[in-house]
């Protein structure tokens, strides 16, 4: 996926100016950056929730501006940060909405529908809860239910906007391990926004670091997160060590 010269502004305040970048197929890419830097905006521009003022995004060599919303929804699934659903809707019905891109407004007939829904419920371990209503789910279960809906779309690409925000550490790990499994076992390309730098280092292959609407770094996570860059992007002092357990680097912020 190619991002070329992307521009976007809220009102007349220029926000994102001339973004260029490349998102690798089959990898987990995390978008990092301080609050209000344009992470979510970039994610929303790529899935065309927002329309850019300039530039374009190319998916498999085709401009997404030329695709219909339906075509995009068959290629990219997105899990939003905040979701709304009627409280009495069952998990199974919710996940069935994920088949909308493959159905028409008038009929819910589609051949792979049941299979896709079953698979999505299985992967997210929501099978046992499929008759439970959304209003009675815990925060983590709720997030998994919406991920299951996105998975039922059966796309190759999955976007997640801050999937771990509002969850405690147990559910955060559950979601991130699920994301990893989707990538490793099912070959999905994952693009997500995270706040936690350590989680980004653990769970992603590539990162995109954004500051004030510009990309500061794009590429492999190991080379990307350095003490200097953390100070440049977030304005914090930190040390980076490597875990003796799994040889993954981790970061500890210091008192400045």
């Amino acid at each position: 996926m190619e991002i070329r010269d992307l521009k976007f502004s809220y009102g007349d305040r220029a926000f994102i100016q001339g973004l260029n970048g490349h998102i690798e197929k089959g990898k987990v890419t995390t978008i990092l950056g301080p609050n209000g830097c344009g992470k979510s905006t970039l994610l929303n521009l790529i899935v065309r929730q927002l329309k850019p003022q300039g530039g374009d995004i190319f998916l498999e060599g085709r401009s997404i501006q030329q695709m219909t919303a339906r075509e995009i929804s068959r290629k990219i699934a997105m899990v939003h940060q905040q979701n709304r659903a009627p409280a009495d809707l069952t998990v199974e019905r919710l996940v069935q909405f994920g088949r909308m891109p493959h159905q028409t407004m008038l009929s819910s007939r589609d051949e792979e529908g049941d299979e896709a829904v079953r698979w999505a419920l299985k992967v997210t371990r929501m099978e046992k809860m499929k008759q439970k209503s959304v209003g009675r789910l815990s925060g983590g279960e709720r997030q998994r239910a919406f991920i299951a809906m996105a998975l039922a779309q059966k796309t190759d690409i999955l976007f997640l906007d801050e999937p771990t925000t509002y969850l405690d550490i147990y559910y955060q790990m559950e979601i991130l391990n699920l994301v990893r499994r989707l990538n490793r076992e099912y070959g999905m390309t994952v693009v997500m926004v995270l706040h936690d730098i350590n989680q980004a280092m653990q769970f992603s292959d590539d990162i995109i670091m954004i500051k004030e609407g510009r990309i500061c770094y794009i590429g492999s996570v190991r080379e990307g997160i350095t003490v200097e860059r953390l100070s440049e992007v977030y304005g914090i002092r930190a040390v980076i060590h490597e875990s003796s357990e799994n040889h993954c680097p981790y970061m500890i912020p210091l008192v400045s």
């Binding site: 699934a77 009495d88 994920g98």
Partner: protein, 344 residues
């Protein structure tokens, strides 16, 4: 073992839900039939179902004539208008994602009534066109209110505020037209307050045609409505434009409310109360909610109309007065209640 127990409770849950829905539908159908029978009976010597059928088939005068030409058209009108207003309310509440929207609050009813009033006062013409004018008036009011309330999408609060403003302007226009035509006022006044009586079979037939179109359209919309209830972002990422869906659903709602207002005037709060009770009984899936609300709207308006014409007999209160008096407090109750079950 454990999985087995689990599967059983699951099945029971689904089965229970379905059984409950069927039961509620059955009760409503029974109530509707009972209401029809009572409504035809009230105010005269008792008539049995056989008498009613005989009256429909005959062309005698007397009691049979009264039943055939006055009561039955009135019952038909109440059933159709009740269903239309209730479904219109369901659709508008879905569009705005707020249980306080209805054809009255959003100004659609008053838009329709002003246009119909102007047409009947100044350009009297063939009655079959009246529902079309009602629809046109509803569309105008709806466009006006939506464009006043539009700011990065529709917010229910802004729509309701804009609706209040537009409603009072239209109310002023209505008063002005009524005053300018005071010699024809009494009939008009009753119509403005919502009146189901004095309808001919021709009007009933015309109304039936438009009602069928409107209800047929709204029975095609459940999936659109359900999708919208997941919020704009999810609607978009599932490949549909939420604002296009809103316009389509609103069009059906305006059609239903516009044609009803055109013939029977403003009948408030049916579109507010009925969807709310239906949602409590049926849940939020529009596949069940829309037909259920249609039935319940028919029952409630028919019951209200029967009360309206018997409570101070031989005089009649316009049914709109009854629904407004009972519905107003309900609106306040919704305002106080938090809407947790609805969206978030």
């Amino acid at each position: 073992m454990n999985a087995n127990i689990h599967r059983r409770t699951e099945l029971e849950l689904t089965a229970g839900r379905t059984a409950r829905r069927i039961l509620y539908f059955a009760v409503l159908i029974f109530l509707l039939l009972a209401c029809i029978l009572i409504s035809v009976n009230v105010g005269s010597v008792g008539v049995s179902l056989r008498d009613i059928l005989a009256a429909l088939g005959s062309d005698e005068g007397g009691i049979a004539g009264v039943i055939r030409d006055i009561r039955i058209p009135r019952v038909c009108m109440a059933v159709m208008v009740g269903a239309n207003l209730a479904v219109s309310g369901v659709l508008l509440q879905c569009v705005m994602n707020n249980p306080m929207a209805d054809p009255g609050v959003t100004g659609i009813s008053s838009g329709a009534s002003v246009v119909v009033l102007i047409i009947t006062m100044y350009l009297p013409m063939h009655t079959s066109m009246i529902p079309v004018w009602g629809f046109a008036g509803g569309v105008l009011a709806c466009i006006l209110i939506y464009s006043l309330a539009w700011k990065h999408g529709l917010s229910a609060v802004r729509v309701i505020l804009a609706g209040v403003a537009v409603n009072s302007v239209l109310g002023g226009v209505t008063s002005m037209i009524s005053l300018l035509n005071s010699e024809e006022l009494s009939g008009v006044l009753n119509w403005l307050n919502g009146e189901l009586g004095k309808k001919s079979w021709t009007q009933v037939r015309i109304m039936a045609v438009y009602t069928c179109i409107g209800l047929f359209l709204s029975f095609l919309l459940p999936r659109c409505c359900d999708l919208l209830s997941l919020g704009d972002k999810n609607t978009k990422s599932l490949g549909y434009d939420p604002n296009v869906l809103r316009i389509v659903i609103s069009a059906a709602a305006v059609l239903l409310a516009g044609i009803s207002t055109a013939y029977v005037g403003v009948i408030g709060f049916i579109g507010l109360v009925v969807p709310h009770i239906s949602r409590m009984l049926m849940g939020s899936e529009h596949k069940y909610l829309i037909p259920f609300a249609a039935l319940m709207g028919a029952v409630i308006l028919l019951a209200a109309d029967t009360i309206a014409r018997t409570i101070i007999a031989p005089y009649e209160i316009p049914v709109g007065v009854i629904t407004t008096v009972c519905g107003g407090p309900f609106f306040l109750y919704l305002l106080r209640k938090d809407n947790k079950g609805y969206g978030d």
